[in-house]
Every structure is written in C-alpha cells, then in structure tokens.
C-alpha cells in the first residue's frame, strides 16, 4: 500500500553491473518506500534476477557503477550476511539444497543470528519449535519439514514455501521475491501469495521479480516496472501488468525508443 510521506527503504541510482565481463545492468533506477509492493517484470535476460542477486550481495556479479542506499546506508558497504541481518531478504528462485543439515537447526540458527543482531533474545530449541510451528501454519506446511535436510528432495512448491517461511521468521525490511511463482501449481501459488500478503505491512517493502502476471492476481502491486536490457523503461500501476499480459513486452520497448528519440 502507498502511504504518504513513507520513508525510503531502497534507493537505486544508475546501477551498472557485469558478470564475467558482460554488462547486465545498465543504469537502473528504482525507489521503494515502506509499505509498498513493487513488481519488476520483463522478458528473459532483461536483468531481473541479476538485480535481485546484486542486492543480496552475490559474489559472481561486479558492480561497475551507480549506488544503492538501503535504509539510509550504502548497501555495498555491507557483506551479504550483514545485509541479511540488517533486513534484506531474498527468496531464491532456486533455493539451494544443503544435504545433511536439518531444516529445524538451520532455521533456528538463522533466526537466532538475526535476532541477536537486533538485540533480541535467542530462542532455545523448544521455544523455537513452538515459534516455527506457528509460522508454518501460515504456509500450511506439515511439521515433518522440520526434520528433513534443508531443501533436499523438496518439491518446487515445498522449496518456495520454505523460503516464505524464512521470510516470516526473519521479518525483513525489504523482501525480494525472485520468481517465487515459477514451478508452483495453482494451490501452492495461492498459499504462498496468501503468506506474503499477511506478511506485508506498513514497515516493510516487497519487491516481486516475476515473468508472468499470474502472481499479481494474488499479490497486488502498488507499482509495476518493466525491465529491458538492464534498465527500468516503464513504470505504472497494477493495470500495467494486465496490459503486459495481453500485449506482451515488445510494445514497451518500441514506445520507450520512440520517447527517447522524441526527447533527443
């Protein structure tokens, strides 16, 4: 929801980045305020996923220009784990499997690490068990998830639910959901979207990175951005997503070029 005079959570200015020497982001601008839900859409290869990984601090990408301020501080001054502790959360497109590490232990470690950073009490295993089971209800997850290895052998839908469970636990300031809808059947999509909707509040912000409009039927964005060739070339309200659904992405690029020519 858009709140007047809400504080800026994320301010991206002219962000440029490369991977293995190839330029992926070419001057990206984006401002996200507390309480807002943003959707970033665009064709494959437009740089959407790269953008989310750069915000989280993935080492494969090199930032070559521009700036990103998160809650008033330079995001690039923080190591990936520090960003997470400060409240940047990335729900992975492909959550990583960690064989041998029990999910409940992993979840408790991440929860306690972030809590400690926020000056709050850690939970012991029993307290945490109560806490996490409550959160799991939100996502209609069965308790046996806790005893399995992290993401190992999980179905696509189970992995995504495990991601949103962590979002629910860690209570981030900025949650970036990278293609969270991919690989979800319609029931799982509804459950995951419902979870996200309940977690959205006036103090946090959500950035949905998605290829399809489908997710936005469930999580209604305040802003829709279209990304192409490493830049945001159009921004609109939720109706833009519907237009993209019916007309595709090409016209946005054509229109953008026409505007650019007219300005020149």
């Amino acid at each position: 929801m858009i709140y007047p005079d809400s504080k800026i959570v994320l301010e991206v200015r002219g962000l440029c980045a490369t991977v293995n020497g190839t330029e992926i982001l070419k001057g990206l601008d984006l401002t996200v305020r507390r309480g807002e839900v943003h959707a970033i859409m665009g064709p494959n290869g437009s740089g959407k996923s790269t953008f989310s990984k750069i915000l989280a601090g993935h080492s494969a990408y090199e930032v070559t220009g521009g700036s990103v301020m998160f809650e008033g501080q330079n995001l690039f001054d923080l190591a990936p784990e520090e960003r997470a502790r400060a409240g940047v959360f990335l729900a992975f497109q492909y959550p990583i499997e960690i064989p041998g590490v029990i999910n409940s232990q992993f979840l408790r470690l991440t929860y306690n690490t972030v809590q400690t950073h926020r000056g709050k009490e850690e939970l012991d295993p029993l307290e945490f068990d109560d806490y996490v089971r409550e959160k799991m209800k939100l996502l209609e997850m069965s308790p046996d998830f806790l005893e399995r290895s992290v993401n190992e052998g999980f179905s696509g839908g189970e992995k995504k639910r495990n991601e949103i469970l962590q979002m629910a636990m860690l209570d981030p300031r900025l949650a970036i959901l990278d293609e969270t809808d991919s690989g979800l059947d319609i029931d799982a999509l509804r459950i995951v979207a419902n979870g996200v909707n309940q977690l959205a509040n006036k103090d946090n912000a959500i950035v949905l990175v998605t290829h399809y409009q489908r997710l936005l039927n469930y999580i209604v964005p305040d802003y829709v951005h279209v990304m192409e060739a490493g830049r945001i070339i159009k921004t609109g309200g939720k109706e833009l997503a519907l237009e993209l659904e019916s007309r595709g992405y090409d016209w946005v690029g054509v229109e953008h070029k026409a505007v650019a020519r007219a300005v020149a």
């Binding site: 989280a56 601090g57 993935h58 080492s59 494969a60 190591a79 990936p80 784990e81 997470a84 502790r85 959360f89 990335l90 992975f92 959550p95 990583i96 960690i98 064989p99 041998g100 590490v101 029990i102 232990q105 992993f106 470690l109 991440t110 690490t113 972030v114 950073h117 290895s149 962590q166 860690l170």
Partner: protein, 478 residues
C-alpha cells in the same frame, strides 16, 4: 576459493608446543642390539625379547608398502631414535610425583589427569613419547577385576595374559609397520575386562610425541572376556617440528562370546604446516577379532591430524552372529594425505558389518577411502552395509574411493553406497543471505555431513570432535 574459506581452513595447530623435559633418548638407528637395549630397559621377560627379535628378523625381509595413495620421500629407518622417555623416578606411586612440567603439558592439552577428575568419569593412561607416565583409577577398576595399565606394567605384572594374546590378532609378519612395531614397541595400554564385567567408565589413553626425530611405537591390547564390555577412547597430539616423526602403532582387540568392545579415536597429530613441511607419518595397524559368538567390535575414528595417514581399523568376524562396525571421519587440509578405511572379514555365520566413512578434503590435500569387505565361503547369511561419502572444499583437493568387495557364497548381502559433494559458493551464499557467516555455515554443513559418525562417539569426544573440525576447516571455504 574465496579468502574467507581460505582463512577458515587455515588455523594454526594449537598443540604444537614442545615441553622442555629431560629425556632419556636412545641413539638413532635400529639393529638387534637396539632391541635388546629396549627390552633390558623395560626389564622384560625372555619370551618377549624373543618375540621382538623374531619380528625384527621378519621386518628385515619385508618391503615398505607402496600401494597406498600417498607420496613421501623414502624413510631412513636408521635415522630414527627408537626409544625416548622423560627422565624421572622409575616408579610413581601417586600423581603428585609426576614431573610438574609434564602435568602442565597435559593440562594444556586438556587431559583429565588428576583423580579429582573422577567426576568426568574417564580413566586415563598417558603415553609421553615412549613410556606411560600415569594411569588414573587403576584401583577403582581393580575392584571389579578390570586391569587397565601401561603395556610395560602388564608385561611385568600380568605376563600370562599378555603372552596369551599379544600378536594373536596382528601377527608380527602381518605387514611392514606391524613387524617394525612388534620389534621396537615401547609402551601403550593394556586393558583386560574379565568375564561378565561391564566396564563402569570409559577408558582413555592419551598419546603424545614430544621429541624430534624420535618414533612412537605404541602397542595396545584390549581383551574382553565372555559377556564383558568396554568403551575405550584414544587421543593423540604432537608438537610442531619441521622434520617428520614416525608413528607406527599396533592396536589389537579380542572379544570373546557376547563381548562388546567400542574403540574411539580422535587423532590430531601435528599435520605439518600450510606448505606441507613437517608432520607425523601415522602408519598404524588396528584390528579387532570378534572371536566369540554374538561378539561386537566397533571402531569410531575422527582423523584430523598427521601429514600422512595409513590406517585401516579392521574387524575379523570369526564368531557366529558377530558384529563389526567402522565409523570414520577423515579430514585433510593443506598438503595432508590420508589413505584410510577398514577391512571387514566375515568368517562366522550370520555376521554383520557396517561401514560409514566420511572424507573431507580441503586445500591441496588428498583423501582416500580404501576398504575391503570379504565374505568367506562358510559365512552364510553375512550382511554388510557400506556408505562412503566424500566432501570437497575448494578447487585443489582430491577425494578417492577404493572399495574392494569379495564374496564367496550366495546367501550374503552386500550394499555399497557412495557420494561426492562439494561445499559450494551457492550454499555459502544461501547461508549468508540468512545472516549466517561462512565460518558458521561451514561448521554446520560439516557437522551435518559427519553426524552419522559423531553420534557414535562418547559425549565428551563428540563435543571435542565437533570443535576440532570447525577449527581445522576454519578459513577453507568461500
């Protein structure tokens, strides 16, 4: 491999100090006279000198094994001193008489040497270089008929038991290093659990090599009579020297009908520096004979130290329904080399064995699992389950698996599973994105990887092993 991962694995060795204690060191070199000297110093009976000299004769005719997947310059066996003992009063009546410097050393190592450690519930025998310096709880154990003392004492006080069992599981001619050990072994632990007795506490031996250019050849013998059971722990450290020290131990276990022996090791000999200079050559023969029906021998090892490890704690399952187990974690870093595994020899009917091996290689190290499962024609209904998992850390380490399976009847079942995994950048990024730094992430991944083995360790050893692994791998992942 990123800098964080590097730093995590590359922590210095904290047991690398040398204790300044006057030692009685034999001149370098090996011949029949050296052996006579050792035997005389230890006031040994004639039969034991015979045993040593025969072993020496056998050794002279043997060749060093070259089949392990390890590489090192040829050892000059004449450049090693075969006896080194801290100089002190010959016989100690109480702990108060032990050289205070030596006590401080063990304090640094965290060995519960004093009687006041009764609360810890562990009886300890401590071997410093070549001789045993203290055995705690001897009296308490004697009340239930358990003999727990140094091998030297056992030879003098219980010669009939030692003579009956010594060399029966691992004959001197078994292999090159077993023969060498049989010729020159200096001390070690002896443990005898009489019929029907369940040992009321864990027994523990702590080995330490302190002298440069000396070898340590300890000999351990554990006998569990019918229905007896014992859990035995072994720990090892050594100072950091730039030269290599040879450690060639022999451990023999004998379990009679319905007896149960559990042997756990945390091996943290000095591994050499980050360039591979120095470190212990750990060439060890360990074997248990499950002689009686329903007997059980269980080996658990956490191998983190030594420049080179060559070690296959094995079980000969002779008694019907006997059980052999091998649980192993072997970690190598820098230029360490390990070739370790087990042999399960099924002879009796319905014998069962389990092998769980976890190898972790970091730095430029090489880690090999080598195992033999052999089922004799008469071992009908035998079963084996083997699981060999390797984990690679970084780009320059190697993991190898050499399983040998020989089955000579058609009623046995053998299962073998193997996997290789890698601590990847993506896993660490996932942890980081949840606020967990690389060090904690590696520790969690490794502990998860090793948990099937760690849960076999006695409680205090499990804690030590977990800490040791985190310490060992600090800085190696990223």
């Amino acid at each position: 491999m990123s800098a964080t991962l590097q730093n995590l694995v590359n922590q210095p060795y904290k047991h690398g100090f040398v204790t300044s204690i006057e030692s009685d060191v034999a001149p370098k070199g090996l011949n029949a006279d050296t052996i006579r000297m050792i035997s005389t110093k230890k006031k040994e009976p004639e039969w034991l000198l015979e045993f040593r000299l025969k072993s020496y004769e056998a050794w002279l005719k043997m060749e060093e094994p070259i089949w392990p997947n390890v590489h090192y310059p040829k050892i000059d066996f004449q450049a090693i001193s075969y006896y080194s003992a801290p100089k002190q009063k010959p016989k100690l009546k109480s702990m108060d008489e032990v050289d205070p410097e030596l006590l401080r050393t063990f304090e640094k190592l965290g060995v519960p040497l004093h009687e006041r450690m009764a609360l810890a519930g562990v009886a300890v025998d401590v071997i410093f270089d070549s001789v045993s310096v203290a055995t705690t709880y001897k009296d308490k154990l004697a009340e239930v008929g358990i003999i727990f003392c140094s091998m030297s004492e056992a030879v003098l006080d219980h010669p009939e038991l030692v003579q009956k069992y010594l060399g029966t599981v691992i004959p001197p001619s078994d292999n090159f290093y077993a023969a060498l050990n049989s010729a020159v072994f200096t001390d070690g632990s002896f443990c005898y659990i009489p019929k029907g007795v369940k040992c009321p506490m864990d027994l523990s031996t702590y080995f330490r090599i302190n002298t440069e250019e000396s070898g340590q050849f300890e000999r351990t013998l554990i006998v569990a009579e019918e229905g007896a059971s014992v859990s035995y722990l072994e720990g090892c450290t050594a100072p950091a020297f730039s030269s290599n020290q040879l450690h060639a131990a022999v451990v023999e276990l004998v379990a009679l009908d319905n007896a149960d022996i559990k042997y756990s090791t945390v091996q943290n000999w000095y591994a050499g520096d980050e360039k591979g200079v120095g470190g212990i050559y750990n060439f060890v023969t360990k074997r248990g004979l499950a002689k009686g029906v329903n007997s059980r021998i269980s080996w658990t090892q956490v191998e983190t130290g030594s420049a080179i490890t060559w070690k296959y704690p094995s079980c000969v399952l002779l008694g019907d329904n006997s059980v052999g187990e091998f649980y192993s974690v072997a970690v190598t870093n820098h230029y360490q080399q390990a070739d370790t595994g087990t042999k399960m020899i099924h002879v009796g009917k319905n014998t069962r064995s389990t092998i769980v091996s976890k190898g972790i290689s970091a730095g430029h190290s090489n880690n090999s699992y080598r195992g033999l499962v052999k089922v004799a024609p008469g071992a009908t209904g035998a079963r084996n389950y083997s699981q060999c998992d390797s984990m690679l850390v970084g780009q320059n380490s190697g993991a190898h698996t050499f399983p040998y399976i020989q089955v000579a009847n058609n009623s046995s079942q053998i299962e073998h599973e193997a996997s290789t995994s890698k601590i990847g950048e993506d896993q660490l990024f996932y942890f980081a994105q949840r606020g967990i730094d690389a060090e904690a992430a590696v520790s969690m991944i490794i502990n998860g990887f090793c948990k099937d083995v760690f849960q076999q360790l006695p409680m205090e050893f499990a804690v030590e092993a977990t800490a040791l692994l985190s310490f060992k791998l600090e800085g190696s992942v990223g």
